[in-house]
């Protein structure tokens, strides 16, 4: 590619100059994004963390593409508050949009700077090109390369005005499936995870959590611990540090056995989630108010229905883990957090430390699907490390604590009403959504929001989680506004102002229930109108990209003309994620004989420009399987004092013998912005399963999960 622009160091404010690149505007120095390292490699720095979604590979592809170097020359530096660009939290399917666009622009500017250096050295005004990092003049090697040209400090300058980047039509690395750069370590068992890190002199800590959500530690009794263990007690926070993890675990068990607690019953009745959601005090906010009295006057048929989801657990494969070292007034933390910078600030605020003295290094954990226990484990490690200054302390949660103390995805209820006119068109829609907040990450709502802070002496209970602005894109309102062509629409959020069970972000936030509800209701309305579910949706869609994914999934799943088999059903679900991001339509095949079995799922997705097609397919497949697991198996159970789904026995997820076959088709959208792919499938898949089950079982189940028991209940209530 020929040099077409020179970065202008300017003097103007990067926030204005780089407004189209928010991450770059916030971190404008080029060397904070990339470095040409010895040995002919390029190291890129991103503020986005890898947790199995493959983002580092996609970012490496973007850098390789823009720099014209081979992909295997690019490595990604671990994220650290000590040097990485601050890009906030890795969430919301925004990494490629934010970090990718910043990195692309930074690489384009670095490339232009180096080509200008080369032109200077060669005394040429002719066009220079780059082949795998080597500088070519008129197609011939010049003996110069990025690595010979990149003098120290060259990239220590602010990005200038945006320069043109390669159009996707010229891509050869991005836009093509690339093997994930992290997988070779993972198939050979090499240390890759935070859980594998062993620091010199490291000690091992365990925390003894209260025996109930609300409990006060009255006394520690006499656990009879060996002298080389250190017990840490602060209020109702209890933990232990030992030379080895096995010993710490034994000591924690002894401590738990000896400790005396006062337990308060604080949880709602698990058998009546609707009662809990509808009776709690709420803050009510309009999400959408689109009035059309003339249209509303044409209603001839009305329907109302309520849909619910239970509390859902992240149920990460690995219990949360963290390492911390307390050195005088400086604290160093290793965490698998999704937001290293937010965690740093929350730790500093919670423990009244200077944020400049707190460093958070990210290391990979098991797959994260939202705000799990990672940040809380980091505080645990700091609290234990404070008792043994100078020594790193590694804390590992137990499986039981992971299932019960990590924040949960909130239970929700959506009440939908719609009116059809005499032609069977939807003319009015009302949607009310009850939920606890989803935005409970560290620092949100001006609070550190770390678990153990509430347990420390003088600690206060965490306030109910915020939910973000009621935009239809955030929190429980995500996808609460149907994406169909309906003249009269009112959507209201009812955010619960009490939080007996701690809630926060779980993959797709409110979209999972909202789309399940909307798309289930669409099938119920289609039935009222005597229309085929696919035709009914298409008749209410005008966005051609939306129509295309619906048409394509119908086509490749063989929707039309599929013979009906007794006990088997097919259903469709569609949504545009957040109402403004990726499009996804899913068809599910469900068998409902002795139990509810999802056999196959077909998905068509339009996620704009794609960097790594196989990465997108992997994310969509995984999202579909996880959504099928949520929709048919998962439910957090609790009694009046504590969470009781503590293991894989009591919180089952779909297994190899139960998972559906999944087929994904990417609908090309050349020239469209990247939208992210990690969350698009959650809502549509659940809805497709619900609709397929309604056909297979002959009864509509509106309360998740869609289990055999729920089918029987729906038949009885029928």
């Amino acid at each position: 590619m020929t040099v077409t622009g020179q970065p202008d160091p300017g003097g103007t404010d990067p926030a204005d100059r780089l407004a189209a690149y928010p991450s770059l505007a916030a971190n404008p120095v080029l060397s904070s994004w990339l470095a040409f390292s010895p040995g002919g490699t390029v190291t890129i720095h991103s503020g986005k963390v890898e947790y199995g979604q493959g983002v580092w590979t996609a970012l490496a592809q973007i850098a390789a593409e823009e720099l014209d170097v081979a992909l295997d020359r690019v490595s990604v530096a671990p994220v650290s508050t000590g040097g990485s660009p601050d890009e906030g939290v890795t969430s919301g399917s925004l990494s490629i949009q934010h970090s990718g666009s910043a990195l692309r622009q930074a690489c384009a500017q670095a490339r232009a700077l180096l080509l200008a250096e080369a032109a200077d050295k060669l005394g040429t005004t002719g066009a220079l090109t780059v082949a795998d990092g080597q500088i070519l003049a008129a197609g011939q090697p010049t003996g110069l390369s990025y690595w010979s040209l990149a003098s120290p400090g060259l990239l220590d300058r602010e990005a200038g005005d945006p320069v043109p980047v390669k159009p996707p039509g010229q891509w050869s690395v991005a836009g093509r499936s690339a093997h994930r750069i992290d997988l070779p370590d993972k198939v050979t068992g090499r240390p890759r995870f935070l859980h594998d890190i062993v620091l010199p002199g490291m000690l091992y800590g365990r925390v003894v959590r209260p025996p109930a959500v609300v409990a006060e530690l009255l006394g520690t009794g006499d656990p009879g611990l060996p002298p080389d263990t250190v017990t840490v007690r602060d209020g109702s926070f209890l933990g232990v540090v030992a030379p080895a993890d096995a010993q710490a675990l034994r000591a924690a068990r002894a401590l738990a056995k000896a400790a005396r607690w006062r337990v308060t019953e604080s949880l709602p009745d698990a058998r009546d989630l609707k009662g809990f959601l509808l009776s709690a005090p709420t803050e009510d906010s309009p999400v959408e108010s689109r009035h059309d009295a003339a249209a509303a006057a044409t209603v001839t048929t009305s329907r109302t229905a309520e849909y619910t989801r239970p509390f859902l657990a992240h149920a990460s494969m690995a219990p949360s883990c963290a390492i911390a070292r307390w050195d005088g007034d400086a604290v160093t933390v290793w965490s698998h957090t999704q937001g290293p910078f937010a965690l740093r600030d929350a730790l500093a605020a919670g423990l009244r430390l200077d944020p400049a003295r707190v460093t958070v290094h990210h290391a990979e954990g098991a797959g994260a699907y939202g705000h799990n226990g990672a940040d809380d484990a980091a505080l645990d490690a700091v609290l234990l490390a404070r008792a043994v200054p100078g020594r790193p302390v590694r804390v590992l949660w137990s499986r039981e604590d992971e299932m019960s103390w990590a924040p949960l995805g909130p239970a929700m209820l959506a009440r939908l009403s719609a009116g059809l006119d005499e032609r069977g068109r939807i003319v009015t829609w009302r949607q009310d959504v009850w939920s606890n907040g989803f935005i409970g990450r560290p620092g949100r709502g001006g609070e550190p929001r770390l678990l153990a802070l509430a347990h420390l002496a003088g600690g206060r209970p965490m306030t109910p989680a915020p939910d973000g602005p009621p935009t239809g894109a955030m929190g429980s309102t995500r996808n609460a506004v149907p994406g169909y062509d309906i003249p009269d629409v009112q959507v209201v959020r009812h955010r619960l102002l009490t939080m007996p069970i701690r809630t926060s972000s779980l993959r797709s936030l409110g979209a999972f229930l909202n789309v399940f509800a909307i798309e289930s209701f669409m099938d119920e309305l289609a039935e009222c109108a005597g229309a085929d579910p696919v035709e009914f949706r298409l008749a209410h869609l005008t966005d051609p990209r939306a129509m295309r994914v619906v048409e394509q999934v119908a086509e490749f799943s063989g929707w039309a003309g599929r013979p009906r088999a007794e006990g088997t059903g097919y259903g469709i679900g569609y949504a545009r994620y957040k109402g403004l991001a990726g499009y996804c339509a899913a068809v599910a095949e469900v068998e409902a004989e002795d139990d509810v079995h999802v056999r196959r799922i077909w998905l068509a997705v339009d996620v704009g420009t794609v960097i790594n097609p196989d990465g997108v397919v992997n994310q969509v497949e995984g999202g579909a399987v996880q959504s099928a697991s949520w929709a048919t198996r998962e439910r957090v159970t609790f009694d009046r004092a504590r969470i009781t789904s503590l293991s894989w026995d009591s919180y089952p997820v779909l297994r190899f013998t139960e998972v559906p076959g999944v087929a994904v088709r990417i609908v090309p959208a050349p020239g469209r912005p990247e939208t992210g792919a990690g969350e698009v499938a959650q809502g549509p898949v659940a809805a497709a399963i619900g609709n397929a089950l309604a056909q297979a079982a002959g009864v509509r189940v509106r309360d998740l999960p869609l289990t055999r028991e729920q089918v029987i209940r729906a038949i009885e209530e029928g």
Binding site: Y51, G52, Q53, G54, H179, R180, D182, L183, P184, D185, K186, V187, T188, G189, R190, P191, R192, F193, H195, D196, V198, A244, D245, A246, A315, S316, M317, A318, P319, E364, G365, A366, G367, A368, Y369, L396, S398, R399, D614, N618, Q619, E621, G622, G623, A624, V625, Q626, S629, S647, W648, D649, V653, L654, R655, F656, T657, V659, G661, V662
Partner: protein
């Protein structure tokens, strides 16, 4: 705590390790021998992240007491490489990109390798059943099954291909 001497062969090397006899084998492998492949997931043998091959059989190591490992031959994912080359299952996991976070991958590869040792040409159903004790939260099951079948196909050659065709 009473210390015992444990004699165990891990990835072809004989070791004598001092340990409390009730210590889980997983701790001996990770803390004692510095292996990182077998991983802790649940501690009660329900998720498969800690699977290793013990005397030819894939077993969870998190709930396998060290005393019971006396005199056994243990293979972890690190021990599957032959002469520096990846095991066919490891290569197939890369070829199929059969992972997301990869935390459970070692256990799945070990389970698959043990399956193919016992049954070089499994059906898809047999692969599902062999891996049913391995949980994956990221939803990569389809890819994992494709990888195991690919490895079986590549390892098996003509003989086993014809065996599969006859099924």
């Amino acid at each position: 705590m009473e210390q015992h001497e444990l004699h165990v062969t891990v990835n072809g090397e004989e070791h004598t390790l001092a340990c409390d006899p009730d210590t889980p084998l997983l701790d001996m492998l990770r803390a004692g021998l510095g292996l990182s492949g077998p991983r802790f997931g649940c501690g009660v043998g329900l998720c498969g992240a800690c699977l290793v091959v013990i005397d030819g059989k894939a077993r969870s190591s998190c709930d396998y007491p060290a005393w019971a490992a006396e005199g056994t031959e243990v293979t972890t994912v690190e021990g599957l490489r032959r002469a520096g080359a990846l095991h066919a299952v490891q290569q197939a996991f890369l070829d199929e990109q059969a992972a997301q976070c990869g935390y459970c991958t070692s256990g799945m590869i070990v389970a698959a390798a043990a399956l193919l040792d016992a049954n070089p040409a499994p059906t898809e159903r047999e692969v599902h059943e062999a891996l049913d004790g391995n949980l994956c939260r990221c939803g990569t099951h389809r890819r994992v099954v494709a990888a195991v079948l690919r490895a079986a196909h590549q390892d098996g050659g003509a003989h086993e291909s014809s065996g599969r065709a006859a099924r």
